[in-house]
Amino acid sequence: MTPKISLLTAAWLVLKKDWQIEWRTRARLTALIFFSGATLLLFSFAMGPDVTSLRAHAHGYLWLGLLFASVLSLGESFRIESENQALTGLVLTPVEPRAIFIGKVLGNASMLFALSLVLLPITIGLYDVDLTRVPHLLLLVLFLGTLGISAPGTVYSAISANARARDVMLPLLLFPVLVPLLLAAASATKLTFQPDPQDQLGSWLKLLIAFDLIYLSVGFLVFPKIAEED
């Protein structure tokens, strides 16, 4: 028997449900903003008050801040699914696990993207960077980067939400896989903050797109196996 609603409709419902929950518990997003804002502030304490060097490395701090925040946000995203075994409830309803994957990835990505937008003014304040050079490309980099964190992140947080020592497990699994993404996103962001004499931004963007597509498709294929007992 085929499900009564299409894959995309189901994914949209999952996404909308995540947004609804976020909206009802705004405190969580606020906490996340303060956490990553504090991280950015701590970087400037750790590196000393030299504005030139802070500005030169702002892209790295921004992405490290996002990366640390992503562990919290991804963990939270599947904590609400394991509370009352809601994820099992969805699968039994039945909702197609692949639809759950799409919905959760987009939910996580939109959350991190929103966070990155909030962090931009903070980077101006703390590191005095110039965001106005190619703002549309900067937004594209942030979008592709946060999507790239979410694609493998959704798979790994679904796994670690049910494992022992889950708070350690998620970064332990996720960070090695995200090394290429961090390189590409930070380098691309740098080239939107600073001049791009060798015109390399395009190649980093391509790497980001490739990373996103690869992990979205691998996650799409693998997620149904871990969403339920098999």
């Binding site: 028997m1 609400i80 075994q85 809601a86 099992t88 409830g89 039994l92 309803t93 007992e229």
Partner: protein
């Protein structure tokens, strides 16, 4: 011979190194209802989870409504529903939002009005817009039942349905179970209240340490 609602053929289920269900075989005809009894940890909840396809037997075959619960889970899932200790609700959504979400996933026609009707029926209308986090255990149970009714399953699995309910709620639950049975639904009921359970069911399965034994 009538079709079988549940047919377990030598099923076992392992958690880690422990066998929660051991070499269990039984069958239940469609339309008939089964009472599951046994002490805490005897495997009742695990068995209900297996029938609901939330878990699968480690060994052996389980057929529900003629479908292999593991291989044909997609065909089976629309027709079974489980109400268990884990309520499957999102704590931060309201009762109405939780139900509406299920309704939309199920493709129910006119979801808003059927949600309203079910909340009414379960006596939750006044709290429809409170988050589930603020609900008492009994209200959560009512909401879970509403979710089951929304699905109108052919096999309904109820894990301790009378627990956490007040006497009036308990009576209402009995009536709901009778209504389900009147529609031809097979109810599998796990409860410690043996007298009440026996009055609602035709068959009984007593578990001890994950094995079938005759009740003493």
């Amino acid at each position: 011979m009538s079709a079988l609602a549940v047919e377990a053929i030598d099923i076992s289920k392992r958690f880690g190194a422990r066998w929660a269900i051991s070499r269990l075989s039984f069958s239940l005809a469609q339309g008939r209802s089964l009472l599951l009894t046994g002490h805490n940890g005897s495997g009742k909840t695990t068995l209900l989870r297996i029938i609901s396809t939330a878990a699968f037997p480690t060994a052996g075959t389980l057929k529900v409504l003629g479908f292999d619960s593991k291989k044909e889970r997609d065909s089976l899932r629309p027709s079974v529903a489980l109400v268990s200790h884990a309520s499957f609700h999102y704590e931060d959504l309201t009762a109405a939002q939780n139900l509406l979400l299920s309704a939309k996933f199920l493709g129910v026609k006119d979801p808003a009005s059927s949600v309203k009707e079910l909340l009414e029926r379960m006596g939750l209308s006044s709290r429809a817009d409170s988050a589930v986090r603020q609900f008492s255990a009994g209200m959560r149970k009512r909401l879970a039942i509403a979710r089951l009714l929304m699905k109108a399953p052919k096999v309904a699995l109820l894990d301790e349905p009378f627990g956490e309910l007040d006497p009036a709620g308990s009576l209402q639950m009995e009536q709901l179970i009778r209504d389900l049975q009147a529609q031809g639904t097979s109810v599998v009921l796990a409860t410690h209240l043996i007298e009440q359970g026996l009055s609602l069911t035709q068959e009984r399965l007593h578990l001890e340490g994950g094995r079938k034994v005759s009740p003493t």
